[in-house]
């Protein structure tokens, strides 16, 4: 029944550019916002964008996540041509989209595809913070949805790396909000088939992304110090009119509050994911 939607799309179609890579900083040197060390950008990139002095985890682009986590040359992007417009006619939105496309080389804030992680076939998705703060508009919602539907059809596990700053994308109004329902339902249909979904919460995972598909994983991992929550810290501070406790909405806070299964350092992430995929490979084979 759902397959009728696969062909039915009025998106403008463009080709994605060559993948960009490297951490947020462009220069030769990058200053660590946590310990203020001046880091040689090339070294930082080699170190998975983690400060080797204080272990601060810099944000990573969606393509860098693919390069870091998936087996070399195993990733096949899906739905790369999906591109949205400006449904509400929100002033300035088209320019914003154009700038983000140029900056990131992505058509939208979400990158999805099929690949392998330590030999385990899976569907992989990553949100790119560089694209309008990694917010979820209709195309991101649609791509997340299709990734889970693709995984359901091929009976594959899903690993998502989420980093959506503002959560839902304001510029698409109610249509953005509805993506929370759409993606949550896609996750649940995948889950009802007994398939595994692991989500890695990276800095930042907030609002509409946190309150939908990112929270509904079987296993939820988080990177150290990642900001995780529903309401933004500034909104909370203005509402309660008092200073926020230190560490508020950080991954460690979420772990203590029971919202996260484990905090994993980036350099361990690939190994941990491989272990978890292995556990579920065997279980699936033996009993299904």
């Amino acid at each position: 029944m759902l397959s009728v939607f696969w062909g039915k799309q009025k998106y403008v179609t463009i080709k994605p550019r060559e993948p960009s890579s490297g951490p947020v900083a462009d220069g030769l040197w990058t200053r660590c916002p946590s310990c203020s060390s001046l880091l040689y950008t090339k070294e930082l990139t080699k170190n998975l964008s983690v400060c080797d002095r204080c272990s601060h985890h810099f944000r990573m682009s969606a393509w860098d996540r693919v390069l870091h986590l998936l087996d070399a040359d195993s990733f096949q992007e899906i739905d790369q041509d999906l591109e949205g417009g400006n449904p509400l006619g929100f002033s300035g939105y088209e320019q914003k989209l154009a700038k983000s496309r140029e900056k990131t080389g992505l058509t939208e804030a979400c990158l999805t595809g099929e690949g392998r992680l330590s030999g385990h076939q899976l569907v992989f998705g990553a949100i790119d913070f560089g694209f309008i703060g990694g917010t979820m508009g209709t195309v991101v919602g649609e791509k997340v949805c299709r990734a889970f539907e693709y995984a359901l059809t091929k009976r594959l596990p899903v690993v998502m790396v989420s980093a959506g700053g503002g959560g839902a994308r304001m510029h698409e109004g109610i249509l953005s909000l509805m993506q929370m329902a759409k993606t949550s339902q896609a996750v649940e249909r995948h889950s009802q088939a007994g398939l595994l979904y692991i989500c890695v919460l990276t800095d930042p995972t907030m609002g509409g992304i946190y309150a939908s598909f990112a929270s509904l994983a079987d296993i939820i991992l988080a990177e150290p110090q990642a900001l995780i929550g529903f309401a933004g810290p500034r909104v909370v501070e203005e509402t309660i009119r008092q200073k926020l406790p230190s560490g508020f909405q950080r991954a460690e806070f979420a772990l203590n509050n029971g919202m996260v299964d484990a905090i994993i350092e980036r350099k361990e992430l690939r190994k941990v994911l491989a272990r978890l995929l292995l556990y579920h490979d065997r279980g699936g084979r033996q009993l299904c």
Partner: protein, 317 residues
């Protein structure tokens, strides 16, 4: 807004006052003003139509927030024959910002849930201005699951600017509970009718807003977040809320065009707060009509159609 009267309706209010005065004169002094009254009444009629058919999005937001606008418990009182409130999330707290229970709609049992704003300052503080904590959403989910067990339809009356953004709410997983509600509500095997009666803001509204029919009152608003928050996030200036309200396409008319909602429930001229009974009866009629349609469907068909409804949003525009 002064004494519940908006700036833009002042000419009308003054006209109405004048008509009232002339009527009193006619009665008390015996002077006949009927011709003048007729003229003024026709002018008022035109003015009323003029004002209320051309409300700006921001004006609607204001009407949706009117302190005398009917609350969830008002609608429950006016629409249903009987109501028994059920409390608690069985986990941590009973959240007074969310109410729910079993009610009789023309004699048939339904489960009703909805955020509850206060009637006055004291009540508002007790009810946290109608901003639910995670336990409020958890209570709503518990009652919806109970409804599913007993095959009762669910009616969700939505009037909430957003889920409460506080320290404890974040600690107790506001994001997780909203996702969980959305997920579970999507697959409940009973008819669900959601009505945006006032404000419909963000995940805090959607957490009780996944259904088979989404109705919306004429002057309600529903969007990804409140105009204030949108202005704050995009332009770092809450004073640009009016501009944000324009940009967000948050009116019932907009949402009907997007097929995000199914029907607009008309309000009496001037807004629901002018006449609680009329709007409640209009809503009751709509609820009965949609319920009848939904109950003709099997549970599996219901769920499949519900999922498809959301699956479509954003695919075609």
């Amino acid at each position: 807004m002064l004494n519940g009267v908006f700036e833009w309706e002042k000419p009308l209010i003054e006209l109405e006052k004048k008509i009232e005065e002339l009527r009193r004169f006619t009665k008390e002094e015996g002077i006949d003003f009927s011709a003048e009254i007729a003229t003024l009444e026709s002018r008022a009629e035109n003015l009323r139509h003029d004002i209320y058919s051309r409300l700006t999005p921001w004006q609607k937001v204001m009407i949706a927030r009117h302190p005398r606008r009917p609350t969830c418990l008002d609608y429950i009182e006016l629409i249903f024959d009987d109501f028994f409130e059920l409390h608690g999330d069985r986990t941590i707290r009973d959240d007074p910002a969310m109410v729910g229970g079993i009610a009789l709609l023309e004699g048939r049992p339904v489960t009703v849930i909805g955020p509850q704003k206060g009637k006055d300052t004291k009540d508002n503080i007790a009810r946290n201005f109608g901003l639910p904590h995670p336990e409020g959403y958890r209570k709503a989910l518990r009652l919806m699951r109970q409804a599913e067990k007993f095959r009762r339809p669910i009616i969700s009356l939505i009037d909430v600017v957003g889920a409460y953004p506080g320290i404890e709410a974040e600690q107790r997983g506001q994001g997780v509970v909203i996702a969980e509600n959305i997920r579970q509500m999507s697959f409940l095997k009973v008819p669900i009718i959601c009505v945006v009666t006032g404000e419909g803001g963000s995940g805090g509204a959607l957490a009780i807003g996944v259904g088979d029919r989404i109705l919306m009152l004429e002057n309600a608003w529903y969007s990804v977040c409140s105009p204030e928050m949108c202005a704050q996030i995009l332009w770092k200036d809450t004073k640009k809320a009016e501009e944000a309200a324009e940009s967000l396409c948050l009116t019932a008319q907009d949402l009907l065009a997007w097929k995000v909602i199914d029907e607009i429930i008309p309000e009496p001229p001037g807004g629901a707060h002018r006449n609680h009974e009329t709007v409640a009866m209009t809503l009751k009629e709509a609820l009965l009509r949609h319920l009848q349609e939904l109950e003709a469907q099997g549970a599996d068909e219901l769920v499949a159609k519900r999922i498809d409804r959301y699956r479509q949003i954003g695919v075609v525009w």
